[in-house]
């Protein structure tokens, strides 16, 4: 197997994404005394280009799906699909992140479990935590949230569908205000204003 460089991977995937390509960048990061580098490819694409790009990626090397990360940016929700290719080859692994941005008015994304079944856990989690509909997901039940968790509340959203303040219970503060701490010295009384 000929190993592609990060730039070559970015180019190949850009071609696969076609019109759905938005931006790409390659980064490196070195640690340790010998300065060996780990390499990352970040691709921003549209939702429609996700499956073709991923199929092309799987042709290069069967990707290890790490997780689908997320970020609520206000009007949109970003989904970052983190894949690793070239696993099993010492120090050659490359992180390929496919980012898609979904408008909050249309939070739908295709399932990638047809290509990588191992992504199911992460997709189920995105549904319940972010309110995203994963189209054609083979198992759409809740995963982590309790059964009596209210519908329409999505813990990872930062808008009005996020966790409402009345669901938040600050355990650390419970009972503090009722303490009678008598040995706290009183605040210095300010001098009464003269004249």
């Amino acid at each position: 197997m000929k190993l592609l460089t990060p730039q070559e991977i970015a180019d190949t995937l850009q071609a696969a994404a076609g019109a759905g390509f938005i931006s790409a960048r390659c980064t490196e990061w070195a640690e340790g005394a010998k300065g060996r580098k780990s390499r990352q490819v970040w691709l921003h694409i549209t939702r429609e280009a996700l499956l073709p790009t991923l199929r092309r990626l799987a042709d290069i090397h069967y990707p290890h799906v790490s997780v689908i990360a997320h970020a609520d940016t206000g009007a949109q929700v970003d989904l970052m699909y983190h894949f690793y290719i070239y696993w099993g080859i010492p120090r050659e692994e490359i992180l390929v992140t496919l980012t898609i941005s979904l408008d909050k008015s249309d939070l739908r994304t295709p399932t990638i479990t047809g290509i990588i079944p191992g992504a199911l856990t992460s997709e189920r989690e995105k549904q319940e935590m972010l309110g995203i509909e994963v189209v054609d997901i083979p198992d759409g039940r809740r995963l982590f949230l309790p059964e009596d968790f209210p519908e329409g509340v999505y813990p990872w959203r930062k808008d009005e569908t996020g966790i409402p303040p009345d669901m938040v219970k600050e355990l650390w503060a419970t009972g503090r205000d009722s303490l009678q701490l008598d040995d706290t010295p009183p605040a210095p009384t300010p001098e009464p204003p003269t004249a």
Binding site: T27, E31, Y62, H64, G88
Partner: protein, 417 residues
């Protein structure tokens, strides 16, 4: 949200969990069984969802390190190391090499202790309590060593953004070497007890098999993947910390047994081999550790100010004892707290492989199969109550009230006697 109707199966339906002696942490297995055989397996985690990521988005990066450290009760370093690596990449902080080595040393000691803990739990699930006591007795030594080096037995508080907080000095080396010698012997003993024992072989060979192809598609990590012959190990694949300078091998079961079967026995083999590997790695790291500072930015106040100005996204990873841990972090300039933080713990990737492992096996194999991926779930303060077909959740306060009431009742009936 779309839901799937579960088809009514033949045989009968039984549940194991969320609280069950076979499970050290709460997860629920829904099983269709025929006699003793499992026809269909499903699981429901989330009995202990704590909303850690939500909490992290309301704290600054230094606070998040310690929150991350507490994601897992056993791995005190994996989550904090992953988180700080992501933040360092965003803020472009170059960590001193000595700090990288210290991170790796603590990481390897943690692997030894975690694998020994697992070996004990697995033995207990098999009903082999003597091996459980043996493994945990041996583990006590590494716990003492970690306490000696970091100040605590778990939750080491060693990691800081840009380095480590405490040094491992030359005066401490003999104590570490003493422990490594102890583990050399302990490894021999453990390998004998676990791998040569006839009853362990009877229970674990060809039980809970995960084939190479299944493992490739379901993307498990760590020893679960390696036991099926999948060569995935962040320490080898991805150069980071002190590991970047070492020559590390993928530990697959064929190194000891000459074949890969992907069963529970192979997972025991992999973990034992990794204990041995970790001993060697600690020695190498100590030998090669350079001198130098421990922190890129020694003053925490300065660090906080720098992080407030940092922006970008990055991924930090670490090979935890259970496999890959990954943290995605996104920072924005002007904000103390991360705008996005996604934690991927190792068991998160391993859950799905339970299903092919369990189907077709016996009820008796559930505990050891469940334990064989070394699941790390977690604990919480709520309990589900089913009454007259209705389900509701009891809070800690309610539980406390109920138990007080019951104690009063019993006391009253006793005094009435």
């Amino acid at each position: 949200m779309k839901t799937i109707e579960v088809k009514k199966p033949s045989g009968y339906f039984t549940q194991i969990g969320p609280a069950h002696p076979a499970l050290k942490e709460p997860v629920m297995f829904n099983l269709d069984v025929e006699g003793e055989r499992i026809i269909k397996a499903d699981f429901a985690p989330g009995m202990s969802h704590r909303g850690i990521e939500w909490m992290g988005l309301r704290r600054n990066c230094i606070q998040v390190i310690y929150l991350a450290e507490r994601i897992c009760g056993i791995c005190g370093i994996t989550h904090s190391i992953s988180f700080v690596r992501a933040v360092e990449q965003i803020a472009q902080i170059q960590v001193p090499v000595r700090a990288h080595y210290i991170r790796s040393i603590v990481g390897e000691l943690e692997r030894i202790h975690s694998h020994l803990l697992w070996a004990g739990v697995a033995a207990h699930e098999l009903g082999f309590d003597s091996a459980f006591y043996l493994a945990w007795r041996v583990r006590e030594n590494v716990m003492d060593l970690v306490e000696y080096l970091t100040g605590n037995r778990v939750h080491y508080a060693m990691i800081q953004i840009g380095g480590v907080r405490r040094d491992i000095t030359r005066e401490q080396f003999p104590r570490i070497e003493e422990s490594m010698k102890f583990f050399d012997n302990a490894y021999d003993q453990l390998a004998r007890v676990f791998l040569d024992d006839t009853t362990v072989q009877m229970r674990c060979r060809d039980c809970g098999v995960l084939t190479y192809e299944e493992a490739r598609q379901l993307c498990p990590v760590g020893p679960t993947a390696r036991a099926s012959g999948i060569k995935k190990d962040v320490r080898v694949d991805h150069p980071y910390a002190g590991y970047a300078d070492l020559d590390i091998e993928y530990m697959t079961p064929d190194r000891l047994t000459g074949e890969v079967r992907g069963d529970v026995y192979d997972r025991i083999v992999v973990r034992l081999l990794e204990v041995k590997q970790s001993i060697a790695l600690v020695r190498q790291l100590l030998e090669q550790m350079p001198d130098g500072p421990l922190l890129a930015i020694p003053k925490p106040a300065v660090l906080l100010a720098k992080l407030k100005g940092a922006a970008g996204e990055a991924v930090g990873r670490h090979e935890a004892p259970r496999g890959e841990v990954m943290h995605y972090v996104r920072l924005e300039a002007g904000k103390d707290e991360p705008v996005s933080w996604k934690v991927k713990a190792s068991s998160y990737s391993n859950y799905l492989s339970w299903i092919p492992m369990m189907e077709g096996e016996q009820i008796a194999d559930i505990p050891i199969i469940a334990a064989s991926i070394d699941p790390c779930i977690s604990c919480t303060d709520r309990v589900a109550l089913v009454q007259d077909g209705n389900r509701r959740v009891l809070t800690k306060a309610e539980l406390h009230r109920l138990s007080v009431e019951k104690t009063r009742r019993i006391q009253a009936s006793l005094s009435a006697r």
